[in-house]
Symmetry: C2
């Protein structure tokens, strides 16, 4: 059987307080140009063009981020921009996008889900892994698992089971974020892979899994699938669906999943410190961009956004300095994952204009 070309769903509804002050409520991480000249979202979309037809790449986003998505992807067809009426986490977002595909292409359409805000260095290897996962999606829900390069405690892991085909394994189980000891054992053992939130399935399989594992969501998705006026139905039904991640709500409970182990320089850009891994460094190991003067400093991240004051850094190592028009962040690279502390303080102080 010759299958129809597959659809891609880009999940672009995230926040990203860890990249404050560049990231804000209406300018989340995926809209920032962190990895190079493109925004992470635009890079994700361009990368997927190697595996998907342009009119089959959909973006699911939040209402207050839709304008930013349109600006980042001006060629995106209007019907391919799926706007969540409320933020209900990824199980609902994936379900909503899947309903949009099912209404266009039926229950046997193949769908692949990708976060909008990750960086991938080796796009050829990425495309190969996507192709392999798509090939198995008609038979099972498939995920891509990244071979871990260090004992990361900030990610969930996937333990692979027996091989089911060349380059494809059964999923033994999903594992929560581990302690550093467990993470080290996972890296050494070779059976555990990073869960990067990429999933491949048919529309029918995802909707069935939702019915089984999240019946309230499954029922709402079925109603959306059958609705005469989809937009009206979304407005009335979507805000009431359970807010849970696709990992916790469906994937960890579903059986028979498969995983494609892969290595393609994946980075979730989880904090400013990640820029040292995905951007070009100067000869002292600094990442420097924008209107800046950096003297006698090593291993620092120094960024000035357009409209920001000049940033001058002298004799300071392993710092993060990020300036925007209205805010400047200074922290140590090893504290970059704690930027939420600042955002929370601003929120508590009522500084909405800076959030």
């Amino acid at each position: 059987m010759v299958r129809e070309p597959a659809f891609a769903l880009i999940l672009a509804g995230g926040g990203g307080t860890r990249l404050w002050p560049a990231s804000r409520r209406t300018r989340p991480k995926q809209l920032l140009t962190l990895g190079g000249p493109e925004s992470l979202l635009a890079a994700t979309h361009r990368r997927l063009r190697a595996s998907f037809e342009a009119d089959r790449i959909l973006v699911v986003t939040a209402a207050d981020q839709a304008e930013g998505v349109r600006a980042a992807l001006p060629a995106l067809p209007t019907q391919n921009l799926v706007i969540e009426p409320a933020a209900r986490n990824t199980a609902a977002a994936v379900g909503l996008g899947t309903v949009h595909v099912a209404r266009r292409a039926g229950d046997n359409a193949t769908v692949a889900v990708f976060p909008a805000d990750h960086h991938i260095a080796d796009e050829t290897s990425f495309a190969a892994a996507v192709g392999l996962a798509l090939a198995h999606a008609p038979e099972a829900i498939v995920t891509i698992g990244l071979r871990p390069t260090h004992p990361e405690t900030g990610f969930g892991y996937i333990q692979r089971g027996p091989g089911v085909a060349p380059g494809v394994h059964a999923v033994a189980r999903f594992v929560e974020k581990p302690t550093v000891e467990k993470a080290a054992a996972y890296v050494a053992g070779g059976e555990h892979l990073w869960n990067a939130g990429m999933f491949f399935f048919t529309t029918g399989a995802l909707l069935a899994a939702a019915r089984t594992h999240l019946p309230d969501l499954g029922r709402a998705l079925d109603q959306l699938r059958a609705a005469d006026d989809l937009t009206a139905a979304e407005r009335s039904l979507y805000p009431a669906v359970p807010a849970i991640s696709i990992d916790h709500g469906i994937m960890e409970k579903a059986g028979g999943l498969r995983v494609v182990p892969a290595s393609f320089g994946w980075n979730d850009v989880g904090s400013w410190a990640a820029l040292g891994a995905i951007r070009a460094l100067d000869d002292r190991g600094n990442v420097v961009a924008g209107d800046t003067v950096v003297k006698e400093s090593r291993g620092s991240i120094v960024l000035g956004e357009p409209g920001a004051p000049l940033v001058a850094v002298l004799g300071a190592d392993d710092l993060v300095v990020v300036a925007t028009r209205d805010a400047v962040l200074v922290t140590r690279k090893d504290r970059a994952q704690d930027v939420r502390t600042v955002v929370d303080a601003l929120s508590a102080a009522g500084r909405k204009e800076l959030l």
Copy 2:
């Protein structure tokens, strides 16, 4: 003989690149509010009001700083603002101010010279030292020497000689900025005092010393003293006088000087790090002012000027972070004296708007 009240000359022509980005060519250090609510210049003027009549306090400044001086001292009589037609260092500036006093009050008027940009914590002790120095000025050129509190290598020292009156010594010699070993010996020995650039003399004595030790300057000052049109004479004569400091040009060569040893919490505010000594600290030893959020940081100086972006500092110790509307400086406290490196780089890059 009952003497006329003395005059004060405030030297307010300095630059202060070490306090960039707050200090700029047209907004030098003395115009910044570094020690509290007042600018250093306004604090100097207010402090001198305890010892001098308001209409006898003159300010000598550069043409491009005159507007800032007028704004900082709105009550300053117009005739008490002496504007240098060109920058010719402190020997010339003191000579020019002395000529203005001599034309008003003759050759026997007492004059005291003070830098505009120092911070003094104990104003009562300062006034006592000034009173003692003024009392001796009719007989000799007098200076105030600060008892050193640490082996500072950035200042010149004055070695005191035998006592000539209670609290007053002969000056044995002026000493250049020492090595740290010599500075430590000076502190231990008890005979050496910091040269803070404060001098007391009669108009006649200063003009005579200029004639003796800087004859080109002395001649120009005599011509200014006698000129019918002082402003025109200043314009034609002043730019050609030798540019040398009053210390090197006159005081180190003159004999018979006296020194009043004193301790009054003197600080020359030579770099951002000095703010830790002259401003209130929070309970973690930070100096914090302006629109800032400082979390989990110790011993840092974090300043946001009006109009600057919010400054957020997280988990960073012993840093200097200073934000203005158009520039942000980040450096370590122990590198704060090297801020000129940044200013030089901006100058080389043609960024005049930031200088």
